[in-house]
């Protein structure tokens, strides 16, 4: 195992959305803009890195029968920290993400990585794994958020800077409504499946 390939695995093969298909609720709910996506990914990354680190540190002293409650308490502690910090320092972001910040606690990505990776590997690799998966999550949220924001509003505005602005505003309102999230992720998954299928056929 070398750290770099472990990191990249989190973005590609173990990508939370397209590889593992975990944590769909925040992926779909908060991606009305790139900015919200970044905020959500940052909160999740913080929780994931620290929960992986601590789960990995206590893995030898935790009996396997009670490991899930232990993981949940560790995760809930860090989610409470993120919740309070965001509420205090980034109120507009907190208002936009709403109930999905406290809901990081039941995000399957985090408990999934704790169970599948951090409880079996040492602290260093667990943190690398968390960094990789978080980066994968960030990229997916930015991609979906970007597609929805540009089709829905005609421009991408992130933290006060206009990154992209279309000359004609398409204003497909559906894209920033809940339906747009299902449409975007459905089409992206279909494209990925198509590529995989093509690769498989060529391989044979």
């Amino acid at each position: 195992m070398d750290p770099l390939s472990e990191f990249i695995r989190g973005i590609t093969r173990d990508n939370p959305t397209f590889g593992l298909v975990l944590g769909l609720c925040p992926t779909l709910a908060v991606t009305t803009s790139v900015e919200n996506g970044i905020g959500m990914a940052a909160g999740t990354a913080f929780v994931l890195i620290f929960s992986n680190l601590f789960v990995s540190l206590v893995r030898k002293v935790t009996p396997s029968e009670v490991r899930l409650p232990v993981f949940i308490i560790i995760i809930a502690t860090f989610v409470s920290i993120v919740d309070m910090v965001m509420k205090a320092f980034f109120p507009p972001m907190y208002a936009a993400l709403g109930v999905f910040i406290p809901l990081i606690v039941v995000n399957c990505i985090i408990i999934g990585r704790a169970e599948a990776y951090a409880s079996k590997n040492n602290a260093f690799y667990s943190v690398i794994d968390a960094l990789g998966v978080s980066t994968g999550f960030l990229l997916v949220l930015m991609l979906i958020g970007g597609i929805r924001e540009i089709l829905g509003t005609g421009q991408i505005v992130t933290f006060g800077y206009t990154l992209v602005s279309l000359p004609v505003n398409p204003s497909v309102t559906t894209m920033i409504l809940p339906g747009g999230a299902f449409l975007t992720i459905g089409i992206l998954m279909a494209i990925i499946n198509y590529q995989k299928e093509k690769k498989r056929v060529r391989g044979e």
Partner: protein
């Protein structure tokens, strides 16, 4: 604050803020267990039960224990522990007393403690300042709304297994595209039922 009518809260949970299609809560089970109507029904039954029960337990815990002690910041940890314990308890009771129900709900019960819809309902109750009756009603109607969508989705998916579609779209992409159509219909309830 004007007190919301109970009927408004009921419609709100059932359609306007439908957990699956409008709020995006509980989507893992939405794409995971809607392959056939039977398991979707089983999952929905378990959700109705646990969601109503957890609202029933979490409200007194928050309002009469955490708020007077000024421990609101522990709310999240308390709720998740209560829900996990409740799911365990429900599992024991159902297994012992109603074995038939246990056999049909069995595998779905453990899944529920990580279903964000249950915790979401409790958190939304707290953030909307609902009282006891309102909290329980909102949780119940949200679970009922969840059931309606689960049953609709699983019926459509069960039928569409016979349809010939490109392999790339089969499975999850197809489920999401179906969800898009259902969701567009549900979002339009905003205009049908003015609140």
């Amino acid at each position: 604050m004007v007190e919301k009518a109970l009927f408004t809260i009921f419609m709100d949970g059932l359609f306007l803020n439908n957990f699956l299609l409008v709020q995006f809560l509980g989507l893992c089970s939405f794409v995971g267990v809607t392959k056939d109507v039977k398991s979707a029904g089983g999952m929905s039954g378990a959700v109705i039960f646990v969601m109503t029960m957890s609202a029933l337990v979490c409200y007194p815990l928050y309002a009469y224990l955490l708020v007077p002690l000024k421990l609101e910041f522990l709310g999240l940890i308390a709720f998740i522990v209560v829900i996990a314990a409740l799911v365990q308890l429900v599992e024991f009771i159902v297994r012992k007393n109603i074995p038939a129900l246990y056999r049909s709900l069995g595998i779905y019960l453990p899944l529920i403690s990580t279903n964000c819809a249950v915790l979401g309902a409790v958190l939304l109750n707290v953030s909307s300042d609902y009282n006891f009756i309102q909290s329980v009603l909102f949780a119940f109607s949200a679970a009922l709304g969840y059931t309606i969508v689960m049953l609709m989705m699983s019926s459509i998916r069960e039928r569409s297994t016979l349809v010939s579609i490109p392999t790339a779209i089969r499975g999850l992409p197809q489920a999401f595209l179906l969800a898009l159509m259902l969701s567009m219909a549900f979002v339009n309830y905003f205009w049908v039922i003015p609140v």
